[in-house]
């Protein structure tokens, strides 16, 4: 009965979203206040209905209702409760329901925190989000119903894919979806601006926090996914340029460009059409990501569906959303107006260069991801484009972008002086160049890539230090007062940029100095790597709730002193008969020691892979710093003040300061 109620609730939600997607938009065009006023209550009703349906599915999983096809396919009675609940989004149908739920959460959030918006703008934004919701609910009800019954009911479920039975599964997909779907808000703001022909600094200020929030979630989501791959796949890698990863990385790149472009639109009124275009692209790429991962186009662990009907539906949906919004853009972009003028050497042009580089990078990822699919679809042969392509493309594109991160923040708006900036940055440049040469030589491995990576990382550190020093030095206030004198969004920018530097530093060191060996080990055998001795103590069998495991133990010593004990595991999940590798990792600020079991060989021996990963944790810590920087920007005073006092006139003088 509960699944039917959930199904019915989804149908009601579809009806509500249809009204939400039509009446408020028409009302805004005709100036009908009653129709526009429908948007807010409808957003809440839609949220309640979808959340209720979601809870019904959670209930079916928690109480093991194997008469529901989706539950039977993705769960099992031996699966622990937390994974039974995470299994709700372990497959295609449930992921879509999660998508819709998150979209309705964002919609409700916009309706609650938009008191300062003009009525017609709010009605249009909520209406556009309602239309997106119509697409997803329709898709779910027509081709991917999570509540479909299985008659006769299964005795037990087929279990969740063992790869997904991990705490990472509980956080990674919802975070990522919060990011993906969050860009729908920026998208809706842009469509509303195009429809209303109104795009000013106030518009940019309103849409900025939403965009930053979505970007934070996406950053954390990608970081969690990368970390998960690192310890779950047992290969020691943390980024594979896998199509599924690329699908999440493209919106991130464009979203990052969007954040910067929005800053220009807010402060200077420039880049208006470009900002709108980026918002459309960021959301389109999020949809494309959903399509790539969910339609079975990419057959990998992430591709749950192999039903072509679904593919065609999503393809049509993509064409309507992307094609429609681009058409609207082509038709209406001229109405949003032109921005202020700026000189060739100015913060605007540096930000423009940053935007172009990020957009080109996103295009190159798109090419590498889609082109093999096109060839395959047209029967022109099967090719694959691996990490070498992306590595070759990314270094030359990102190096100038990261260099500009040191230059842009110290440049003045409108027109800056190149000699003056060169004077200010000469120490930062010297220090980073010296570090880039001396440090690798001290560590005993100099390659151009290591030099470049270290230079960029220290360039951002040093130029940020210069920036902060200049800001804090020019004041008589006590230190705390000086810190507080600068806005939180400025500090957010500094910290996010430092996060990039930390990321690049970790990336460079781990790529340049990591080492690995694969060996056959009998109990008592010792392997040597990076100055450490890894002694294999053998494996013991043990039983988990739904798997049988060979639990290995490797103790690591350096010069005879015990440093750590690694406990890699080989599991066999009994329901699906799938083997799984659980790496044994000792994470550390300076380096990770990492071991994973390969396969049992004759005589109690195992093939074992051992990795030494210097500073790999910095990669993820850098991502967290970026997200924290975003969070600081989000809590900036001016977003809070405007909420209380929606006076639009008084912001121009304040804006000039930042």
């Amino acid at each position: 009965m509960i699944p039917e109620i959930g199904h019915f609730s989804l149908i009601l939600a579809l009806l509500v979203s249809l009204i939400l997607g039509s009446f408020p938009i028409i009302g805004a065009a005709r100036g009908n206040a009653v129709w526009m006023g429908l948007a807010k209550p409808l957003a809440s009703v839609q949220f309640i209905l979808i959340a209720f349906a979601f809870l019904c599915l959670v209930y079916a999983f928690a109480f093991m209702d194997y008469s529901v096809l989706y539950v039977a396919n993705n769960s099992n009675s031996k699966l622990p409760l937390q994974f039974r609940i995470a299994a709700v989004w372990g497959g295609h149908e449930g992921s879509l329901l999660l998508w819709s739920l998150i979209l309705s959460i964002w919609t409700v959030a916009v309706s609650l925190f938009s008191k300062h918006l003009p009525d017609d703008m709010r009605a249009r934004i909520l209406g556009v989000m309602g239309l997106i919701s119509v697409g997803f609910l329709l898709f779910m009800l027509m081709a991917s119903n999570p509540f479909e019954r299985l008659i006769p009911a299964a005795l037990d479920g087929r279990d969740l894919n063992p790869l997904l039975q991990d705490p990472g599964m509980i956080f990674h997909p919802p975070m990522l979806y919060m990011g993906y779907v969050g860009f729908s808000v920026a998208f809706a703001f842009s469509i509303a601006a195009l429809l209303g022909g109104q795009l000013d600094a106030a518009w940019a200020r309103w849409s900025r926090p939403w965009t930053i929030l979505a970007w934070i979630f996406l950053t954390v989501g990608i970081m969690a996914g990368s970390n998960w791959a690192y310890y779950e796949l047992g290969w020691g890698g943390w980024w594979f340029w896998d199509a599924v990863e690329n699908a999440s990385f493209m919106p991130w790149l464009v979203g990052t460009a969007l954040i910067h472009s929005l800053a220009v639109t807010e402060k200077r009124g420039s880049f208006k059409a470009w900002t709108v275009l980026l918002a459309i692209c960021a959301f389109s790429l999020s949809l494309l990501g959903t399509f790539l991962v969910r339609s079975g186009v990419l057959t990998s662990v992430h591709a749950f569906a192999t039903d072509p009907r679904r593919g065609i539906f999503i393809l049509a949906f993509l064409v309507i959303v992307i094609g429609g919004s681009l058409l609207l853009f082509a038709w209406r972009a001229s109405t949003v107006g032109r921005g202020g003028k700026f000189d060739v050497v100015s913060r605007e042009s540096f930000l423009l260069a940053n935007n172009v580089l990020l957009a080109v990078a996103a295009m190159s990822v798109l090419l590498g991801t889609l082109y093999p699919l096109f060839l395959d679809a047209l029967n022109l042969g099967k090719i694959s484009v691996g990490p070498p392509y992306f590595d070759a493309v990314f270094a030359p594109l990102m190096a100038p972008a990261i260099f500009l991160m040191g230059v842009g923040p110290i440049a003045r708006w409108k027109d800056a002086s190149l000699p003056g900036m060169a004077m200010r940055l000469r120490w930062a440049f010297g220090i980073s160049l010296a570090t880039a040469v001396i440090l690798p030589l001290m560590l005993g491995n100099f390659t151009p890539m290591i030099g470049l990576g270290l230079f960029l990382a220290f360039w951002v550190f040093a130029s940020s230090a210069e920036l902060v020093y200049q800001r804090l030095a020019k004041s008589d206030l006590p230190l705390m007062g000086r810190i507080k004198a600068n806005s939180r969004s400025w500090w957010g920018m500094v910290i996010a940029h430092l996060g990039i530097a930390v990321f690049v530093l970790g990336l460079t060191i781990v790529k340049g100095f990591e080492s690995e060996i694969a060996v056959k080990m009998l109990p008592g055998d010792v392997a040597h790597l990076a100055g450490y001795d890894f002694t294999f103590d053998g494996v013991v069998d043990h039983k988990g709730p739904n798997y049988e495991a060979s639990h290995g133990q490797i103790h690591v010593t350096k010069n005879g002193v015990l440093r750590t004990i690694l406990e890699p595991e080989k599991r066999l999940y009994t329901v699906t008969n799938m083997p799984m590798t659980e790496a044994g990792i000792s994470p550390h600020l300076i380096h990770d020691l990492y071991a994973s079991l390969g396969e049992p060989l004759e005589g109690g021996a195992w093939s074992v892979r051992i990795y030494h990963k210097p500073m790999v944790e910095w990669v993820w810590f850098g991502c967290l710093m970026m997200a924290f920087g975003g969070f600081l920007a989000l809590t900036d005073k001016r977003y809070r003040l405007k909420r209380r006092a929606p006076s639009k006139a008084a912001n121009s003088s304040k804006a000039a300061k930042i």
């Binding site: 894919n161 990998s300 060739v344 080109v360 099967k382 694959s384 691996g386 070498p388 590798t581």
Partner: protein
């Protein structure tokens, strides 16, 4: 430099476009030189594959063909598309789902002796899942010789 502001702007737009063009060229060049093509064992047996260039090969691991070297890490096996076979050598730890009679994709080069030296072996994450390349290889072999029965 006595350029007018407008001229300066044109020059800069020109430089910008040239840089984007350069970036596009770099990207396409990198793309072309890093494409990896896929071949079936039948194509390899017919000599349709290039020498000295890496490629991917897919099919099933022939039953009874896996032989391990004394070091426990060097593995010899045979990839088949049910019509033709290709011997493969690989040194390293094999993925979890590498099994006889299951689908596999290997990347590497073929030597003059016809032995495929794999640098990477991929077998994906699901007991019932067949890598798409491996499935395609079996299908095309099946179409070429209708008498053979596709293994389940």
């Amino acid at each position: 430099m006595a350029l007018k502001a407008r001229h300066k702007r044109f020059v800069l737009i020109g430089i910008g476009l040239a840089l984007i063009g350069l970036a596009a060229m770099l990207i396409l060049n990198a793309f072309q030189s890093n494409m990896v093509f896929f071949y079936t064992p039948t194509q390899v047996a017919k000599g349709e594959v290039p020498h000295n260039i890496g490629f991917r090969i897919g099919g099933l691991v022939e039953v009874g063909s896996i032989k391990r070297g004394d070091d426990g890490l060097t593995v010899n096996f045979v990839i088949t598309d049910t019509a033709k076979t290709v011997p493969v050598i690989y040194k390293g730890v094999l993925p979890d789902l590498f099994k006889e009679g299951k689908g596999v994709v290997a990347q590497g080069k073929v030597g003059t002796d016809g032995l495929f030296v794999a640098s990477e072996v991929l077998a994906k994450h699901d007991e019932n899942y067949m890598p798409p390349e491996a499935a395609a290889a079996l299908k095309s072999a099946q179409e070429q010789s209708k008498t053979l029965v596709m293994p389940k």
